[in-house]
C-alpha cells in the first residue's frame, strides 16, 4: 500500500502539472480568449434567438389546442389551403420585386452620390439615409395618411392634373403596388450606402485603364464596377431578401392584408391566424414555412460568394 503511494506521488504531481500547464495554455490561446469574450453575446443570442426559434418549431408540431403532438400535420393542413398558396405567391412577389427595385435604385443613387464632390457628399448621404433611419412603424403611418382611402394627399395632388382618384389601398393591384412602394422607399437607402462603400473601394486605376482601352460609360459599369461589386451585391440582396420576406409592419399598417387577402405576406397572415385566430401552432407553421426557402437562397448565394473569394 505504502509502495503504491510512494510510486503514485510523482505521477500524480506530474499529471497535475501537465493539467495546469495545458489549462494555462488553453486560457492563453487567442481563440479561447475570443470565445470567452464572445460568450455573453453567444448566450444572449441563444436566449433571444435560438430559444424562440426552437420553441416555434416545437409549437408548429402541436395541434390547435396545443395539447397533442401532430408532427408535420400543420404543414400538411396548410398545403391544402388555397389562401396559404396565395400568401406564398404574394410573399415571393413582394420580396423579389421590392429587393430588385431597392437594389436598382440603391445602385443608381449610389453612383450619383459617388460623383458628388467629397465636400458636399456627407449632407446627401445623411439625407438619403433618413427613410432607413426612421422606425418603419412611424414612417408607414405617414404613408397611410398619404394613401388614406378618403382623404389621400396623393389623390388631392393628382386631381390638379385631372388624374384619379386612385383607390390606393382598396384596389387589389394598387394595394400591392402601394405596399411594395413603401418597402422600396424604406429599404433603398440601405442598398445605397452599401453600394456607395463598395464603389469607393474600386481602384480608380481600373477605370483609367478601361478609359485608355476606349470603354464607354456602360462598358465601365458592366466590366469594371459590377464585377468588383458582385460580392457586396449578393450579400446585400440576400440580407434584404431575408428581411423583406419577414416584413410585417408595412403591410400590417397599410392594408392589414386586404383587400380580399391580396396583400397578405407570411408574417401578417401568421399573425392573423396565430394571434387573431388563436391558432398559435398554425401561425408558427406559417412563419416557419419561409425558413427552408431562405435557407436554400442563402446556401446558393453564400456558396457563390465564397467561391469568388477563393478565386480572388
Amino acid at each position: 500500500m505504502a509502495d503504491a503511494v510512494v510510486e503514485q506521488g510523482p505521477t500524480v504531481r506530474a499529471a497535475r502539472a501537465r493539467k495546469s500547464t495545458s489549462l494555462r495554455n488553453a486560457l492563453g490561446r487567442k481563440s479561447t480568449v475570443a470565445f470567452f469574450l464572445t460568450l455573453p453575446l453567444i448566450l444572449l443570442i441563444a436566449l433571444l434567438v435560438l430559444y424562440p426559434a426552437v420553441y416555434s418549431v416545437h409549437l408548429a408540431t402541436l395541434n390547435k389546442s396545443m395539447q397533442k403532438f401532430v408532427g408535420f400535420g400543420n404543414f400538411l393542413f396548410l398545403f391544402k389551403r388555397d389562401t396559404f398558396w396565395m400568401v406564398v405567391k404574394q410573399s415571393c412577389i413582394f420580396a423579389v420585386t421590392a429587393v430588385f427595385f431597392k437594389a436598382l435604385i440603391g445602385f443608381i443613387v449610389a453612383h450619383f452620390v459617388h460623383n458628388i464632390p467629397a465636400k458636399g457628399q456627407r449632407k446627401w448621404r445623411g439625407m438619403l439615409l433618413v427613410p432607413w433611419v426612421i422606425p418603419p412603424a412611424m414612417s408607414t403611418l405617414a404613408w397611410l395618411w398619404l394613401f388614406d382611402p378618403s382623404y389621400s394627399a396623393f389623390n388631392y395632388t393628382l386631381s390638379f392634373f385631372g388624374i384619379g382618384p386612385i383607390n390606393w389601398l382598396g384596389d387589389n393591384l394598387w394595394a400591392r403596388f402601394s405596399v411594395i412602394l413603401v418597402n422600396i422607399w424604406y429599404g433603398a437607402p440601405f442598398f445605397m450606402i452599401m453600394y456607395l462603400a463598395a464603389l469607393k473601394s474600386v481602384p480608380d486605376q481600373l477605370y483609367e485603364a478601361a478609359a485608355i482601352d476606349g470603354a464607354n460609360w456602360w462598358q465601365k459599369i458592366w466590366y469594371v464596377t459590377l464585377p468588383m461589386m458582385r460580392n457586396i451585391i449578393a450579400i446585400t440582396a440576400l440580407f434584404s431578401l431575408i428581411v423583406t420576406f419577414a416584413n410585417f409592419d408595412i403591410v400590417r399598417i397599410l392594408t392589414s392584408g386586404g383587400p380580399l387577402d391580396q396583400t397578405h405576406i407570411f408574417a401578417t397572415w401568421a399573425f392573423k391566424v396565430g394571434i387573431e385566430g388563436s391558432d398559435i401552432p398554425l401561425g408558427a407553421s406559417v412563419s416557419l414555412f419561409m425558413v427552408p426557402i431562405l435557407a436554400i437562397a442563402a446556401i446558393f448565394i453564400l456558396r457563390d460568394v465564397s467561391k469568388r473569394g477563393n478565386e480572388a
Partner: protein, 446 residues
C-alpha cells in the same frame, strides 16, 4: 455534560401556555393582510374612464386589505390579445385580465370557472344577453365575468339632418328619446333605399368592407337578419343555403351605394367619415359622436344613435362584450373573485357607464336604463336607444351561432365581408359560395 430533560407534565404545561398566549394575543391586521392581486384592464380611449376604474379598485383594495396593481393595456394593434396569448403561454402574469369577445373560449383551459361569481350577479342584476352567454359560457361553466368597460353595440349612428333631407326619414321620431322605438318600417329594404338616396345626395352611408371588426360586425348583423349562417350551432357547414344567397344579393345592392374605397376601410375610417361631415350614417358605438362633440360640434349635435333595421328573420345588432378572465394560475383566486363581484355591482356599473360618457355597456338586463344614456348630449337623448333599453333588437355577434372556436376563425378571417365583396366585384354566386365553404371547412380543425 448535564442535560435537562423535559417531563411530560412540563411539556403539556408549556404547550397549553403557548396556545393560550397565541389565542388571546391581539390580532394585528396589516395593511395588505389579504395578499396581492394584479388586474389588467383594457385601456379605455375615453379620457378619464381609466381613472374611474383605478378609484374603484383602490377603494376595494383598501376595504379588503388587498394590495392591487393595475395595468391598462391598449387594444391598438391587438396588444391586449397578444398579452392574453403571452400570459396563457407563460402561465404567469395578471390574476385578472380583461379580454375581448372570443378570448374566453380560446383560452378556456387556462381560465378559472366563475359560476360562483356569476350566479349571484345574474340574480341581482338580471339575465345576461344571449351573446354574452354564447361567448362567456362553455358546457354550463362561466369562463369569465362580463366586463362593462369596453363592451359596446355597433348600431347605426345617423345624421338627423341628412337622413331627413335625402331619405325623408326622421330618426328621432323613429327612435324617440325616453320612449320605446317606433321602428316597424325600419327594415333592410328601407335601409337600402335610404343608402341609395343618401349616396345620390352626396352623403353615402359609411360602411366598411375591410377585414377589421367594424366591417365584419356589420356583415354579421346583415347576414343574421336574413337567417344566413355559414356554420350552424352543431358545427355543420351551411354556406350553400338560400338565406346566404339572399344576404349576398342584398349586400351586392348595398355595396353599390357605399364609398368606392370601402374595401380598404379600417375601424377608424367610418369614424372619420362621420366626423368630417361626409356621411349620413355609420354603424358604430358612439365613439365617433363623442369625438365629433369635441372636434366637430356642428356634426355631433346632428347625430342620433339608434337600432338596426330588421331583415326577414329579425332585427339583429352587433354586440361586442369584453370579459374579465381569472387565470387558473392566479395565486389569490378568492380575492380576485371578490374584486370581480365588486366591479359588477350596480353602483360600480353606473360609475363605469358615467365615466365613459355612455360608451360602456353592461351585459345585464336590469342595467340598460341608466340615467347617463338618457341625459348625454347634444342632442339630449342621442344615446337613449344605444343600450337597447326596450329589447327592440337581438344582440348578436358575427359568425354566431357556430361553435365559438370556429366562429372566431370566420370572424377574424372576415369571411362574411370577403364573400360580399367577391360577389359584388363580379364573381359568380356559386364560386363565392364554394370559396366560403372551403374556408369554413378549414376552420374546423381542432
Amino acid at each position: 455534560m448535564s442535560r435537562k430533560t423535559l417531563t411530560r407534565r412540563q411539556f403539556v404545561a408549556a404547550t397549553a401556555m403557548s396556545s393560550a398566549a397565541l389565542i388571546t394575543a391581539p390580532y394585528v391586521r396589516g395593511a395588505y393582510a389579504a395578499g396581492k392581486i394584479s388586474i389588467g384592464f383594457w385601456d379605455h380611449w375615453v379620457p378619464g374612464a381609466n381613472d374611474a376604474s383605478t378609484t374603484m379598485v383602490k377603494a376595494w383594495g383598501e376595504k379588503e386589505k388587498v394590495e392591487v396593481s393595475i395595468d391598462y393595456i391598449t387594444s391598438n394593434n391587438n396588444k391586449i390579445q397578444l398579452t392574453v396569448a403571452a400570459e396563457a403561454q407563460a402561465k404567469s402574469g395578471h390574476d385578472i385580465l380583461q379580454m375581448p369577445t372570443w378570448w374566453p373560449h380560446a383560452y378556456a383551459e387556462s381560465l378559472e370557472p366563475v359560476n360562483d361569481v356569476m350566479e349571484p350577479l345574474i340574480k341581482q342584476n338580471g339575465e345576461v344577453n344571449g351573446t354574452t352567454k354564447y361567448l362567456g359560457q362553455a358546457g354550463g361553466k362561466w369562463l369569465a365575468v362580463p366586463a362593462t368597460p369596453g363592451s359596446q353595440i355597433k348600431g347605426p349612428c345617423s345624421r338627423i339632418d341628412l337622413m331627413k333631407k335625402h331619405a325623408g326619414i326622421d330618426v328621432q321620431e323613429m327612435y324617440p328619446a325616453g320612449a320605446p322605438a317606433k321602428a316597424d318600417n325600419w327594415t333592410m329594404e328601407t335601409f337600402l333605399k335610404a343608402a341609395e338616396a343618401c349616396q345620390k345626395g352626396g352623403n353615402p352611408f359609411g360602411i366598411g368592407l375591410g377585414e377589421t371588426t367594424d366591417s365584419v360586425d356589420t356583415a354579421g348583423a346583415i347576414f343574421q337578419s336574413f337567417g344566413a349562417e355559414l356554420v350552424n350551432a352543431k358545427g355543420d357547414v351551411t354556406v350553400k343555403t338560400d338565406a346566404v344567397r339572399q344576404a349576398l344579393e342584398y349586400y351586392k345592392k348595398l355595396i353599390a351605394f357605399l364609398p368606392p374605397d370601402a374595401p380598404s376601410w379600417d375601424d377608424a375610417s367610418n369614424n372619420k367619415w362621420l366626423i368630417s361631415g361626409r356621411g349620413a350614417m355609420i354603424l358604430n358605438p358612439p365613439s365617433a359622436w363623442a369625438v365629433a362633440r369635441r372636434d366637430a360640434p356642428q356634426v355631433a349635435e346632428q347625430c342620433w344613435t339608434h337600432g338596426f333595421p330588421a331583415g326577414p328573420k329579425g332585427r339583429f345588432a352587433p354586440f361586442l362584450p369584453y370579459f374579465w378572465g381569472l387565470w387558473s394560475f392566479s395565486k389569490n383566486k378568492e380575492a380576485a373573485k371578490s374584486l370581480l363581484t365588486y366591479l359588477s355591482q350596480p353602483a360600480s356599473i353606473e360609475k363605469f357607464v358615467a365615466a365613459s360618457g355612455g360608451y360602456d355597456l353592461p351585459a345585464y338586463a336590469n342595467m340598460t336604463t341608466l340615467k347617463t344614456w338618457a341625459e348625454e348630449g347634444p342632442p339630449k337623448g342621442t344615446l337613449y336607444h344605444y343600450p337597447n333599453p326596450n329589447n327592440h333588437q337581438t344582440l348578436s355577434i358575427a359568425a354566431s351561432p357556430a361553435p365559438p372556436k370556429v366562429a372566431q376563425q370566420i370572424y377574424f378571417q372576415a369571411t362574411l365581408t370577403k364573400m360580399a365583396l367577391r360577389y359584388a366585384q363580379g364573381e359568380k354566386m356559386e364560386a363565392t359560395l364554394a370559396w366560403a365553404e372551403g374556408e369554413c371547412e378549414g376552420f374546423m380543425r381542432s
